[in-house]
C-alpha cells in the first residue's frame, strides 16, 4: 500500500473555512464584512498552513468566495488562498481573469477549486439552461480548467518589452490565441491579464468521486488538478483513491508526483487533547502512505482552528512533519510544485 515515491516533508496541510456563515458581527443584523474571515485566515497563517479553501455555491448565503479572499489577500502575507469557483453557468473567460487577478493581488498565493452547479434551483437563478447532468457538468469543468490554463499561458512571461526605439510596448509574437473549441464553449483569447505570478495558479479538485459521475471527476482531477482532495474516514480509502488518481495521471502522460493527493478529513476539536490526537492521526496516516498531505474540514472553524494552530501544529512541528515558517512566497513554493513552463513558449522553441 505504501507508495514507492519519497515522502514529502513538510506535509502539505490545508484548512477549509466553510461552516456557519461568518458575519463578523454576529449580534448585528446580517452584515457580511470581511472581519470574520480575515481573523480565521490570519490564524491559519500563524500556523504556517499551506492554504485555506473557501467553498461557494450560487445558493450559499454570504458573499462570493473569490471576492472574500481578494479582500483578505492584502491583509495577509504568505498563506495560499483557494476559493471555490463555479464553472456551471459562468463565463470561462471571466473565471480565468478573476483567478489570475487574485494571483496578482496576493503576490502569487491564489489557487482555485472548480465546482459544478447541479441543482434546478441554482439553474433557475440564471434562467438560461436547465441544470446539467453531473457527468456533463464535470466534463465542462474540465474544459474550463483547460481554457483557464491556456489563457494564463496566452501571455509569455517576457511579453512586455517597452521597446522605446521601436515604439512597441509588447512583443506580440509572445501573445497567443487560446483558440479553444470544446464540447461546451469556445474561447479565442488571448487573456486581457498578463500571465500571473505563479504562471498557473494551482487547481484544487475534490476528487472523492462518490457519485455515479465519480470516474469522470477522477479523470478531470487526474488531467487538470495540481492538488486532489479525497474525503476519507480511514487511511485505506485515502490510499486507494491516491493510487487510482496517480495511475490515471500516469496514463495521461503526467508525472504523478505533480499531483498531490490530500486526505480531506472532517475534524471537531473541543480540547487540547483532541488537537494532540489529531496530530497523532495525521502522523500515522502519513506514515502509512495514505496521502501526500491533509485538508482539514473543521465543523466550526471559529472554534476548531485555534485549537488546531495552538495544539496540533506544534506537535507536528516537533516531529519535523510541519514547517515552522514559510520559506517561500507563493502557494506553488509552499507545495513544492514548480512554476509551470509556458506551453506556447515551449511550442515556439520546438518549432524554431
Amino acid at each position: 500500500m505504501a507508495s514507492p515515491t519519497p515522502q514529502r516533508r513538510p506535509i502539505p496541510l490545508a484548512i477549509a473555512l466553510d461552516g456557519p456563515p461568518v458575519t463578523g458581527r454576529p449580534a448585528a443584523p446580517e452584515r457580511f464584512d470581511a472581519s470574520g474571515h480575515l481573523r480565521l485566515v490570519r490564524l491559519a497563517e500563524r500556523g504556517t498552513l499551506d492554504f485555506v479553501t473557501l467553498g461557494d455555491a450560487f445558493g450559499r448565503p454570504g458573499p462570493d468566495a473569490l471576492a472574500v479572499l481578494s479582500r483578505v489577500a492584502p491583509a495577509t502575507a504568505r498563506i495560499g488562498l483557494v476559493p471555490t469557483v463555479t464553472t456551471t453557468h459562468t463565463e470561462p473567460f471571466h473565471v480565468a481573469t478573476s483567478i489570475a487577478t487574485l494571483d496578482w493581488v496576493s503576490g502569487g498565493r491564489a489557487g482555485w477549486q472548480p465546482e459544478v452547479s447541479l441543482s434546478a434551483a441554482e439553474a433557475a437563478l440564471f434562467g438560461r439552461r436547465p441544470a446539467p447532468a453531473p457527468d456533463a457538468a464535470w466534463r465542462e469543468a474540465g474544459e474550463v480548467a483547460e481554457v483557464a490554463a491556456r489563457l494564463w499561458d496566452s501571455w509569455e512571461d517576457d511579453a512586455e518589452i517597452r521597446d522605446r526605439a521601436g515604439g512597441r510596448f509588447i512583443d506580440r509574437d509572445k501573445l497567443h490565441y487560446a483558440d479553444y473549441a470544446g464540447e461546451f464553449f469556445s474561447v479565442r483569447g488571448p487573456s486581457i491579464v498578463p500571465r500571473p505570478p505563479q504562471g498557473r495558479p494551482p487547481v484544487v479538485i475534490d476528487a472523492t468521486g462518490s457519485g455515479p459521475e465519480g470516474a469522470t471527476v477522477r479523470q478531470v482531477a487526474a488531467a487538470h488538478a495540481d492538488v486532489a482532495l479525497v474525503r476519507a474516514q480511514d487511511p485505506g480509502t485515502a490510499s486507494a483513491a491516491r493510487d487510482d488518481l496517480r495511475s490515471r495521471a500516469r496514463a495521461l502522460g503526467r508525472d504523478p508526483d505533480r499531483l498531490l493527493v490530500l486526505a480531506s478529513v472532517e475534524i471537531e476539536l473541543y480540547a487540547s487533547g483532541d488537537a494532540v490526537a489529531l496530530a497523532e492521526l495525521i502522523g500515522d496516516w502519513y506514515a502509512d502512505g495514505a496521502a501526500d498531505g491533509f485538508h482539514l474540514r473543521p465543523a466550526e472553524p471559529a472554534r476548531d482552528l485555534g485549537l488546531l494552530v495552538d495544539g496540533t501544529v506544534p506537535v507536528l512541528q516537533h516531529r519535523c512533519l510541519l514547517r515552522r515558517f514559510y520559506p517561500g512566497a507563493t502557494l506553488r513554493e509552499h507545495l513544492g510544485l514548480p512554476r509551470p513552463a509556458n506551453r506556447y513558449a515551449r511550442a515556439r522553441e520546438v518549432s524554431r
Binding site: R31, F32, F58, V72, G167, R188, I192
Partner: protein
C-alpha cells in the same frame, strides 16, 4: 445621509466631485522610460510603474483617498485590440479583472468609492448582482458599477454566448439587467430573503438572493455614452454619467439636456451627477504647463502611433508612408475592417479633409497633424488656473465634477492631489474631510429606491 451642502443654497458654492481613473490601456498613457522633459514632476517620475502589479493600484487608490476623492474608477477590456489582423502592440496593454482588484483595494482604503466597469452583454444578472453586492458588503458601502454594453462579435469570440446585439437591444437589455439586479439587491431587506421572480424580454430568473441588502442598498450605477439611447438610459437608471469633456458650451448643452430628461422619470436634477473624463497638465507657469503638455502629446503619439492613427482613419495600410512626411494622398476606405476592438470612425472622409486643411495651413507633417488633432489635454496651466477653470466649469453647470485620467502609472495623480486639491478646498468647492462613509454619501445621492420596472421602452 450626510449633511451635504444644499446645491440650491446660494451661499454655498457648487461642490465639485472628483474621481480618479486608473491610467488606461491606450495611447494616452505614457509608458516609455524617459523622464518628462520639463516640469517639477521630472525628479519624481524617474521611471514608470507597472500597469498590472497590485502596488500600482494601491498607490493610485491611496493617492485618490488622500485627496478625498469620491471614487476610483477602472475601465474594462475583454478582447485585446487588433490592427491589420494582428494584436496591437504600441500601447500599454494588460490589466486585472476589475471587481477582483477593487475588492482587494477595499482592504487598503477606508472611504474611497470603488467603481468597476463591467459589461452587461457578457454577464448574467444573478451572478453580477452577487459579485457587486459582495463588493459593497466587503467595502462597507463603496461599490459602483459602470454599466457598458458591447456590440461586436469580435469581443464575443471570448465568450460562451458570443454574438452581439444591435444598439437599441443592447440598451434595452442593459436596462432590464439593472432592473433585475436591483430586484435581487432589494429582495433580502427583512430577516430572510424573499424569492425574486423576474420575467422579461431578456431575462427569466427565479429564486432567493444570497446576500442581505448591502450597505448602500444599491451600488452606485454609472453610465458612459453620449448617444440619445445612452442619455435616456442614464436619465432613467444611472446615478453618475461618465461623459467626454467637450468644452464649456458643449458641456452646458449636454448637462441641460440630460438633467432635463430626469423629471420624466420622477427624478430630481441632483439625483444624477455628470462627470466628464478629463486630463490635466500642471506647470509653475502657464508657458511651462503648455510646453509640458506638448511634450506629453509627443510622447503619447510616437511615429508608429501616428501612422496607426492615420491607418484607422484611412482604413488602409500606410506602412509605406513616412510619419514625418506629408499626409497620405489617397482617399479613405469607409468600409475597412482594419481595426478591431475600437470605436469606428463615423465619417473618415470628413476627418481626412480636416487634417489636410490643418496640415496645409500650418505646414505640419503627418505625425505633427495627429499630435495637433488628438489627445489635447482638458486642463493645462498652473494649479491656480486649473482650479479656477474646474470651479468655473461646475459653477456654469457644464459638469458636477470630473473623472481625472492621469497619463502616468502610478504617480500621475500625485501632483493634482498635492497642488490643486488644496486650492479647490480654499475656494470652498471641495470637501476638507469625508463626512460620510459610503460612496452614495460622498456623491450626495439619495437613498437607493427601486423604481418599478415598466418593461421595455418602445
Amino acid at each position: 445621509m450626510t449633511a451635504a451642502p444644499h446645491p440650491s443654497d446660494p451661499s454655498t458654492p457648487r461642490q465639485i466631485h472628483l474621481a480618479a481613473h486608473f491610467p488606461g490601456v491606450n495611447n494616452t498613457t505614457v509608458w516609455d522610460d524617459a523622464p518628462p522633459a520639463t516640469g517639477r514632476g521630472a525628479a519624481r517620475h524617474p521611471s514608470l510603474g507597472s500597469q498590472i502589479r497590485f502596488d500600482s493600484f494601491v498607490h493610485l487608490a491611496r493617492t485618490a483617498e488622500r485627496g478625498l476623492f469620491d471614487f476610483f474608477f477602472l475601465a474594462e477590456g475583454l478582447r485585446l485590440r487588433e490592427h491589420k489582423g494582428r494584436i496591437h502592440d504600441l500601447d500599454v496593454v494588460g490589466r486585472p479583472e476589475s471587481l477582483t482588484v477593487l475588492t482587494a483595494l477595499a482592504a487598503v482604503t477606508d472611504r474611497l468609492g470603488l467603481a468597476a466597469t463591467v459589461n452587461a452583454t457578457f454577464n448574467e444578472p444573478y451572478e453580477l448582482a452577487r459579485r457587486l453586492s459582495s463588493l459593497d458588503h466587503l467595502s462597507d458601502g463603496r461599490a459602483a458599477w459602470n454599466v457598458v454594453t458591447t456590440s461586436d462579435a469580435f469581443t464575443g469570440e471570448n465568450f460562451r454566448r458570443g454574438g452581439y446585439l444591435d444598439r437599441a437591444d443592447r440598451y434595452a437589455r442593459a436596462a432590464e439587467f439593472v432592473a433585475a439586479a436591483r430586484e435581487l439587491w432589494d429582495s433580502w431587506s427583512g430577516p430572510a430573503p424573499e424569492p425574486v421572480r423576474h420575467r422579461g424580454a431578456h431575462f427569466d430568473l427565479t429564486g432567493p438572493f444570497t446576500l442581505p441588502r448591502s450597505p448602500q442598498g444599491h451600488p452606485v450605477i454609472i453610465q458612459a455614452g453620449d448617444s440619445p439611447e445612452g442619455r435616456d438610459f442614464a436619465a432613467a437608471t444611472a446615478d453618475v454619467i461618465f461623459t467626454r469633456h467637450s468644452g464649456l458650451a458643449a458641456g452646458q448643452a449636454f448637462y441641460a439636456d440630460v438633467k432635463g430628461r430626469l423629471a420624466a422619470h420622477g427624478r430630481r436634477p441632483d439625483d444624477l451627477k455628470i462627470m466628464p473624463g478629463v486630463t490635466f497638465v500642471l506647470g509653475d507657469t502657464a508657458a511651462e504647463a503648455q510646453e509640458h503638455a506638448a511634450e506629453i502629446r509627443r510622447r503619447q503619439i510616437s511615429p508608429q502611433n501616428a501612422l496607426l492613427a492615420a491607418e484607422q482613419i484611412w482604413g488602409a495600410d500606410l506602412s509605406g508612408y513616412d510619419p514625418d512626411g506629408p499626409l497620405p494622398d489617397i482617399d479613405p476606405d469607409p468600409h475597412s475592417e482594419l481595426a478591431q476592438g475600437r470605436v469606428k470612425i463615423a465619417d473618415p472622409a470628413a476627418v481626412v479633409a480636416k487634417w489636410r486643411a490643418l496640415s496645409q495651413a500650418k505646414g505640419l507633417s503627418l505625425r505633427e497633424t495627429v499630435i495637433e488633432t488628438t489627445g489635447r489635454q482638458s486642463f493645462v496651466g498652473t494649479p491656480q488656473a486649473v482650479a479656477a477653470e474646474m470651479d468655473e466649469f461646475v459653477r456654469a453647470r457644464a459638469a458636477d465634477g470630473f473623472i481625472l485620467v492621469p497619463h502616468l502609472t502610478p504617480n500621475g495623480l500625485d501632483p493634482f492631489v498635492d497642488r490643486v486639491v488644496p486650492l479647490l478646498q480654499e475656494r470652498g468647492v471641495f470637501r476638507t474631510e469625508y463626512t460620510g462613509s459610503t460612496l452614495r454619501s460622498h456623491l450626495g445621492l439619495p437613498e437607493a429606491v427601486t423604481p418599478v420596472w415598466q418593461g421595455e421602452a418602445s
